[in-house]
Amino acid sequence: MTKQKEHLFPASGMPASQLLAWVFIIGAGVLFYLLPNSAIAFIMFLASFLVLYKTPAAPLIKLPVAALWLCVIMPLAGLQNTYYLGVVTQAGIYVALAVGLNIVVGFAGLLDMGYVAFYASGAYIYSIFATTQAANFIHFPWAHFPISGMWFWPFLIFGMLIAALFGILLGFPVLRLRGDYLAIVTLGFGEIIRIVLNNLDKPINITNGPQGLTPIQAPALFGHILNQPLDYYFIVLVAILLIIIVARRLEVSRIGRAWAAMREDELAARSMGVPLVKMKLMAFAIGASFAGAMGVIFAAKQTFVDPSSFTFMESIGILAMIILGGMGNVAGAVVGAVSVVVLQLQILKQLSDYLGQLSAEGILNIPSQIDPAKYERMIFGLILILMCIYRSQGILPAKRRLASWWEQIRTRGTKKETEEGVDAARS
C-alpha cells in the first residue's frame, strides 16, 4: 500500500486530494443546478456522490451535503428536466432492487436468478386492485375497483408480505441445493411466475394476460394525488433510504454474520449452531420483500404493468449491477445500479443521439445498419467483460466493517490502534 504518497500542498491543512474532491462535489452540484439539460453535468452530479462517499470526512459533514444534493438540487434541476428525474427515479428503483438482491446473493451467498419474480408479484398485487381488473373476480357489494390511491401505502406492506411469502415458497425446495443448481431453480421459478402471469387471463381473468394492466391508480396522501415525477422521485428516495438502513443494520447484526458465515463455509457455520434453514429462508424472504415493495412503487409510477417487464433478462441485469458495483456491499450495489442505468439510459443513448444527429445534419454519413442506437447491448456487453477482467471485485469492493456505533465505542479508548487495525483489515 502506497500510504506515504506526498501531498501536493503539504503546507496546507487539508490534503490536496480532499480539497479537489470537495471542489468537484460542490462544482458538480452547482453546475447541474445551472445546466439541468447538460448530460455531462448530470453525470458529474451523480459521480459527485461517489466522490463524496470516498472522501474521508465526518458523516456529520457528508450527510447534510448528500441530503442537500438529493432533496434540493436534484428536484430543482429535475423540474427543469423531467427526463433526468425519470432516469434518477428509475435508477432508484434498481438501486433498491440491487440492495435487496445483494442480501440474497452478496450477504448469504445464494445465487438467485429469478429475483424479478418477487418484483413482479409486488407490482401485480397492487395493479390488480388499483385497476378495474379485480372486479372480474371479486364481487362484494362493498368492494369498488380501482381502490383509492390511499391504499397505495397499505399495499406497500401487502406487496412486501406477498413477495416474502413467495420467497419462502421458493426457499423450501432450494434449501438442499447449492451454487449452480440453485441458480437454475431460481431461474425456473422466475420464469414460472412470469408465464403464469402471462396466462392467467383465462379461465378467470386475473392478470389480464399479455395485455397488461392499465391505468393504475396513482398513490394519494391526505387527499393529494401523487402522480408527478417529483412525487415518485421522493417516494423512491424514501424507500431506498429505508432499504439501505435496514440492509446495513442487518449486515452488521447477528443475522448478517450468520449469513456471511453460511456463505463462507456452510458446514462450519452449522456446527457453530447457525440454523441453516431459518437463515436461508430469512435471506430469501427479506430480499424478496424489498422487491415486492419496489414492485408496488414501480406499478404506480409506470401506470402500466405487463409480464414483459419481468423477464429473465431483468433478473440478470440486477445481478450484473451488484457484481459490477461490488458484491456483498450495500454501497457497491447502489453504485452498480446507478452506473448500469445511467449507462443504458444516458451515456449510450446520448452517444447514439449524438451520432444520429451528426448524420442527420449531414456531417457524418452513417449507414443505417451501424446506427449506434441498435448496439447498446453490444457496448454494454463489452463493458461487462472489461469490468470483469480489469476490476472483478467491482467498483466498490466489499470490506468487512463493524457496526458504526461499535467503532465509536471502541475509539473512545484506543483510537489510533483501531484505525490501524481497520486499515490492515481493509488492505
Binding site: 500500500m1 502506497t2 500510504k3 504518497k5 490536496a16 486530494s17 479537489l20 474532491a21 471542489v23 468537484f24 462544482g27 458538480a28 453546475l31 445546466l35 439539460n37 447538460s38 455531462i40 453535468a41 458529474m44 459521480a47 466522490v51 470516498k54 472522501t55 428536466n81 423531467t82 427526463y83 433526468y84 425519470g86 432516469v87 428509475q90 402471462n198 396466462n199 387471463d201 394476460g209 399479455p210 395485455q211 397488461g212 392499465t214 391505468p215 415525477p229 409506470q302 401506470t303 402500466f304 405487463d306 414483459s308 417487464s309 439510459l345 443513448k349 447514439s352 444520429g356 444527429q357 442527420a360 445534419e361 443505417s368 446506427d371 442506437a373 441498435k374 448496439y375 447498446e376 481493509r426
Partner: protein
C-alpha cells in the same frame, strides 16, 4: 487507496474543467430554430426489422420536407429512438423526448404494449403521437388528445378476418394460436369473439412463446382436432415457421394470420408453403397505385432493401405529423408552436392524402379512412394479392 482516490479526483477535475470550457463554447454558439420529430420503434431486438423500416419511411418524409421547413425558418431534424419493443424502455424514451423541448411530435410506436404506457408520459405535456402500426383498441380508447393512429384497430381487424374465414372461406371449425403478446393475444381474442358470434366452432386456443422455433407440440394438438382453418395472432417469424411446420406435418387446414405476418420475410421463410395462406392487414399494397410504386422504388433505391409493409405507414404518419406542425406554425404566426397547438392541429387533420390511405382523425384519434385488406399468397412472392378490402370502421364490434 489514497492514491486511487486522488487519481480519481484528478481525473474528475480534469473532466470538470474540460466540460465547463465545452459548455461555455457551445452555449455561446447561436442556435437555429430547431424542430425535432422523433420516431420511436424497436431498432434492436427481434422486431428490429419492422422498426427499422418504419424509421426509414419516416426518414424519407423528413428529408422531403426539410426544405419546406427551412423556408419557414426552422431546421427540421429527425430524432430516431429505439424502444426495444420493451414497455419500460418505451417509457424512458418517452420521458427523454418530453424533456427535449425541441421535439414536437412522435411517429410511433410499433408495439401497442409499448405505446400504451408511453402515451401516459406524452400526455403530461401533450406531445402528439401518430402511430403507424398500433392496432390495439386501448391505444385510442382512452381518448387522449395527443394519441392518433392512421391504421385500423384490432377489434376491426380480428372481426374482418373472422367474417372472411366464416362467410367466404366457409371455415366452420377453427383452431386459434397466439403468441401471448399484447398484440398477438389481443387480435386473436377479437377474432375468436367474432368467429363464435358468426357461428363457427372454436376447437382450441393455445399459446406459444415468441422467440421459439419448435411448434410441434401445439401443432400435434391442433392437427388432431382437424380444423378447417388455423388462425395465428402474432408476428411473422413465429407465424411463418408455424405455417411451414404445419404443412410438414401434413395439416392441410387453411392458415390465416393478422398484420404481424405482413413482411417480405414471411414468404422467404415458409417458401412454397406460403401459397394459399391468408392474412389481414391494415397496410394495403403500395404497388397497386402509381404513387405507391414510385415511393417503393425510391425507398428501395435509397436503402437498398424492399420496404416492409409498415414503412409507408411510417412515412404517412410522419407526413401527417409534419403537416400538423406546419399548420400549427401558420396558426401561431410563423413562430414555433407549442406542443398543445401541434396536438390540436394534428387531431384536426382532415382528408390528408397519404400514400397508403386518406387520413381523417375522429375524436379518439382513429383514422376514419383506415382500410383493412385481406391478402392471399397466390404465389410465394411478397407482397401477396389483395383479395378483399374494406373500410375498417364497418367491422367495429359494438
Amino acid at each position: 487507496m489514497q492514491l486511487r482516490c486522488k487519481s480519481l479526483t484528478f481525473f474528475l477535475m480534469a473532466a470538470l474543467v474540460l466540460v465547463v470550457v465545452g459548455l461555455v463554447v457551445t452555449g455561446c454558439a447561436p442556435k437555429a430554430n430547431v424542430i425535432k420529430v422523433a420516431t420511436v420503434t424497436p431498432l434492436s431486438g427481434s422486431q428490429a426489422a419492422v422498426g427499422e423500416s418504419i424509421k426509414l419511411g419516416a426518414q424519407i418524409a423528413v428529408e422531403e420536407q426539410k426544405d419546406a421547413f427551412t423556408k419557414l425558418g426552422f431546421a427540421l431534424q429527425l430524432d430516431p429512438q429505439d424502444d426495444q419493443a420493451d414497455p419500460k424502455v418505451g417509457v424512458d424514451v418517452a420521458q427523454k423526448l418530453i424533456a427535449d423541448k425541441e421535439v414536437l411530435g412522435v411517429d410511433g410506436h410499433y408495439n401497442s404494449g409499448v405505446a400504451i404506457p408511453a402515451s401516459e408520459v406524452y400526455k403530461t405535456d401533450n406531445l402528439t403521437e401518430v402511430s403507424p402500426a398500433n392496432t390495439n383498441p386501448k391505444v385510442t380508447d382512452r381518448k387522449y388528445l395527443d394519441v392518433n393512429r392512421i391504421c385500423a384497430r384490432d377489434d376491426e381487424q380480428g372481426p374482418f378476418g373472422a367474417d372472411y374465414a366464416f362467410n367466404t372461406l366457409k371455415a366452420k371449425n377453427i383452431y386459434i394460436v397466439d403468441d401471448k403478446t399484447t398484440y398477438g393475444a389481443g387480435v386473436a381474442q377479437q377474432f375468436e369473439a367474432r368467429a363464435k358470434a358468426d357461428g363457427a366452432t372454436i376447437l382450441g386456443h393455445d399459446g406459444i412463446t415468441a422467440g421459439e422455433t419448435d411448434f410441434s407440440a401445439v401443432l400435434d394438438k391442433a392437427g388432431s382436432a382437424k380444423p378447417d382453418l388455423l388462425y395465428f395472432g402474432g408476428m411473422f417469424p413465429e407465424g411463418s415457421l408455424l405455417l411451414k411446420q404445419m404443412r410438414d406435418k401434413g395439416i392441410n387446414a387453411t392458415f390465416m394470420g393478422a398484420d404481424g405476418m405482413d413482411d417480405p420475410q414471411m414468404a422467404k421463410i415458409a417458401g412454397n408453403d406460403v401459397i394459399g395462406a391468408y392474412y389481414t392487414t391494415a397496410a394495403g399494397d403500395i404497388n397497386s397505385t402509381p404513387e405507391g410504386k414510385a415511393w417503393a422504388d425510391k425507398y428501395t433505391k435509397e436503402f437498398n432493401q424492399q420496404p416492409g409493409a409498415y414503412a409507408v405507414y411510417g412515412y404517412d404518419s410522419m407526413n401527417v405529423l409534419l403537416d400538423g406542425i406546419k399548420k400549427a406554425i401558420a396558426d401561431n404566426g410563423g413562430k414555433a408552436p407549442s406542443r398543445l397547438q401541434v396536438s390540436q392541429a394534428v387531431r384536426a387533420t382532415k382528408d390528408f392524402q397519404g400514400i397508403s390511405s386518406k387520413v381523417t382523425f375522429d375524436d379518439k384519434g382513429d383514422n376514419l379512412y383506415a382500410m383493412l385488406f385481406m391478402k392471399e399468397y397466390k404465389t410465394a412472392d411478397y407482397p401477396p394479392a389483395v383479395i378483399q378490402s374494406g373500410t375498417a370502421g364497418q367491422y367495429l364490434q359494438k
